[in-house]
Symmetry: C2
Subunit: 222 residues, 2 copies
Amino acid sequence: MKSLKCLVFDAYGTVFDVHSIVAALDRIFPGQGPEVSQAWRTRQLEYTWLRSLMDRYEDFWKVTESAIVATCNAMKLPLEAKTRAELMKAYLSLKPFPEVKQTLSTLSKIPKAILSNGNPKMLGDVVKNAGLEGAFSHLISVDEVKIYKPSPAAYQLAVKTMGANAESIGFVSSNFFDVAGAKVFGFRTYWVNRSNVSGEGLGVTPDAILKSLSDLIELVKS
Amino acid sequence: MKSLKCLVFDAYGTVFDVHSIVAALDRIFPGQGPEVSQAWRTRQLEYTWLRSLMDRYEDFWKVTESAIVATCNAMKLPLEAKTRAELMKAYLSLKPFPEVKQTLSTLSKIPKAILSNGNPKMLGDVVKNAGLEGAFSHLISVDEVKIYKPSPAAYQLAVKTMGANAESIGFVSSNFFDVAGAKVFGFRTYWVNRSNVSGEGLGVTPDAILKSLSDLIELVKS
C-alpha cells in the first residue's frame, strides 16, 4: 500500500455541522428548526445532484438559497427576504464539530485540505469564522469544474491541487455518497459515521469507518 | 410553435402508482406501509442520481432492490430474502392511476411511448400486467445508455426512437426533476402534479401543469 501523503476533508457535515443552524431556524420557526434543517439539507443535496446530471450548474450559494426557499414553500412557512438573508449569512458561520480543532492541530504534520461543494467565498468565510484558517493548506471548491460531488471531476481537483496520486490521498467525509464517489475515484476513504447510520446501496465499502474525526489520529500514525 | 408529433410518458409515478405497493408493505410491516414506501422511493431515486454521477450504473431492478434493503436496514425492519423477492415481484404489478386507461384510449391517434428508468423486462411486465400492451408503440428504457434521468442522454433516446425533433415531443411526467431534465433537453413538458406539490429550485418552468393525465386530452386537441 502506498503511504499516505495528505488528508482531504469534506466540509459540510464533516468538519462543519450543517445542523448547527437549527438554533437560528428554531427562533424563526419555533419548534420546527430540526425538521426545516433536515429538509433544507436534503433538498440542497438533491439540487446539486440533479443540476450536475442536467448539466445546469449553479454555485452552492444559489443552490443553498433555492433549497431553503423551496423547503419553506413545501412546508408552507413564510420566508421574508430579510429572514432568508439572515439564514444564508448563518451558513457562513456553521459550527465545527467539537473534536475538529484539537484533531486538526494534532495532525499538524500531514498536509490537509478541504474539498467541498461550497463556493470559494463560502469556504473562506466558514473556515475563518471557525478560527481554522491555519489548519488547511488549500480550500478546494468544485466551483472550478462546475459539477458537484460525487462526480469524478470534483475529486480530480484534489489530485491536481495536492500534487499527489489518488491512492496516496486519504479522503474524509461524513456523507456516505461522498465517500462512495471518492472510493470509486480511487482515494483511500475514511467515513466519519457520527450518528451510526447505515451506508449501503452504492456498491462501495469505505477503507475505514470512524466514530469521529479524532479517530484519524490513530489511523494516520499506523 | 412546431406541431406535436408524439407523447412520451414517464412510467413510475406518472402512469403507474409506485405507492400502490403500500398495501403489500402494510401486510409485511403493519402500520408502516406508507412510510416504508416513501423511504424506498426516495432512496431508489437517490441511487439512480448518485450512480449516474459516479458513472457506476446498475439497472433499475438492482437499484430498486438495494433501495428496499437499505430502507429496511435504516428503519430496523427485518427483511427476509423471501419477503424481498415478493416485494420486488409486486413492483412488476404496480397499478396504473385511475384515469390512465381511459386517457390513453382517448388519445389513440397520437403516437405514444414510455421513456423510463425501468429496465426492459420491468417495463414489459408492468405494462402487460396493467393491460396496457396496445397503448404504447415503444417502451424505451434508459438501460440502453446506462445512465438515468435527468441526464440528457436518457431523453435523447426518445428522439432517436420516435424519429421526431425534441420540440415536437410532448413529455409527460409527475416527477418534477424529470420534467426539469426534459425541459432543459428541449421537450415540450407537461407536469402532472396530482398532489399539488411545489416544483422549483431547478430553474425550470414546465410548459403546462396538469392535475391528472386526463387533462392531456384537451391539451392535445388545441
